[in-house]
Symmetry: D2
Subunit: 153 residues, 4 copies
């Protein structure tokens, strides 16, 4: 899918409602472009923590973000609730490419979408480590069918 | 009530669930003290916008914040949902003192509480104006019984 | 000094320029009330880290915020630089009351002012600990002359 | 230049120091990935406002963000100052592709870099409008020499 084709709700396999905040809106009355990324890492980390496969405070494996990107199609605004859709486009040996769509309330077409790439590293050395098996297992249900899952990358 | 007595859920007359975000947590693994105030103005403005008594984009009367305060009793953390409780401790002629309690999930005792004072002004002149009657009416159900409601202040 | 008397630049003993950001401004074109507190904990922590008396990543003593408060007198706006003034109003045995004034550019009178109370705790037990001597020494130059410095509190 | 080749300070034609904040750091002790984008729109908008070619409060032409992207190479951390470098990679008829590099203090190699695409629209209709001549003139000094400047796109 081109990044310029707006995705739909069913293109994602997990959905999380996120409440907007007064200060999310900028001077133009819409959610500031920066804030969209706070929704991205919220849906990713809520999923990982909720599945018990990452522990930000004590876990030995942590996810570092190496790339993010977002296309903005239609404005989001406080006080509406945003629904974040999540899927995995690539499960590498040490990294995962997540794709996120953001939806206004009940709308079917994404208001914004983008990606978020985590590389998993050792907390102390900050060197990449193989994806822990539990993490990989938790992400399989989110994997886009035709996506690449080789363990070489 | 002293600001140091922890309030309970039923001390507030309106409750709003607010989802926390990954970036709310600071280096100590808890929601940063600053972020609590984003929950404060979210519960206040969601209530006002939801009742149709303030329109941030076009309304002639806008609320300016002149004082805020918060006591922190127990940590909040992503990914937990916070419930914000809201009440009105004083309805002045041009200003409102809101009081907010923040609760972790289902807990009965506030994790934090504080106040938020709005003065209502004309959008253009930025001079105080009497509270619009619809705004006053919308706030009455939130008013603490013994609170001062004189129109002189 | 009453919290309603606007302080001046020389009421503070340390000053830190802080650059505002586009997203600091809210829909009314001024820095959102929440963001002021990010300036508060930035001036406090920059001072402490700069003097080598707190290490957020590894130090055994950390500062937890137990109360904050702010009065807003005049708007701040992106893209102006804010100067944060810092003083210590009370050095307790385990806690410090910092007072902060925020100034627009070169202005002499505070646009906002408030306080920020830290209790110092052990990182693991999260129980209060006596202020480390180096921390106390670093704060003495910021102490308001008439302030209370007893070690009992 | 590939987005994976780290740029250097002289690859940018305008540089803005931005002070980091305590709350920029996340639980891992580094600036959260989201916050980098607040530096992006700060350097862009500071430049435009400083040159008097955009007025967020009253101007008839406003910039809407349609795409952003960032590669993260090395961590940034509070309390260090970040320098944001800015250049223009494409000046279209109604849109501008800005490229931003973020540098730690005096370092020559970017810690992060990405792009930020503005489309300029009429404040009321939110329809694209030709770049105002003053805006175009202000951006010419930032234009990468080999960049595309056709007025068709």
């Amino acid at each position: 899918m081109s990044s310029h084709t707006r995705s739909t709700r069913q293109d994602y396999f997990h959905h999380l409602p996120i409440t907007t905040r007064w200060m999310d809106n900028d001077v133009y009355g819409h959610v500031n472009n920066v804030v969209y990324y706070s929704y991205f890492d919220t849906v990713v980390n809520t999923y990982l923590i909720g599945h018990g496969v990452i522990d930000p405070s004590r876990g030995q494996t942590i996810g570092l973000v190496i790339e993010t990107q977002c296309n903005y199609f239609a404005p989001l605004s406080f006080p509406h609730t945003v629904v974040a859709g999540l899927r995995v486009a690539r499960l590498g040996s040490a990294s995962v490419r997540y794709e996120v769509g953001l939806f206004r309330g009940e709308e079917e077409i994404a208001a914004a979408q983008g990606h978020f790439v985590h590389v998993y590293v050792d907390r102390d050395s900050r060197r990449p480590v193989p994806l822990p098996p539990a993490l990989r297992a938790a992400l399989l249900p989110l994997l886009v069918p035709q996506a690449h899952t080789g363990t070489a990358g």
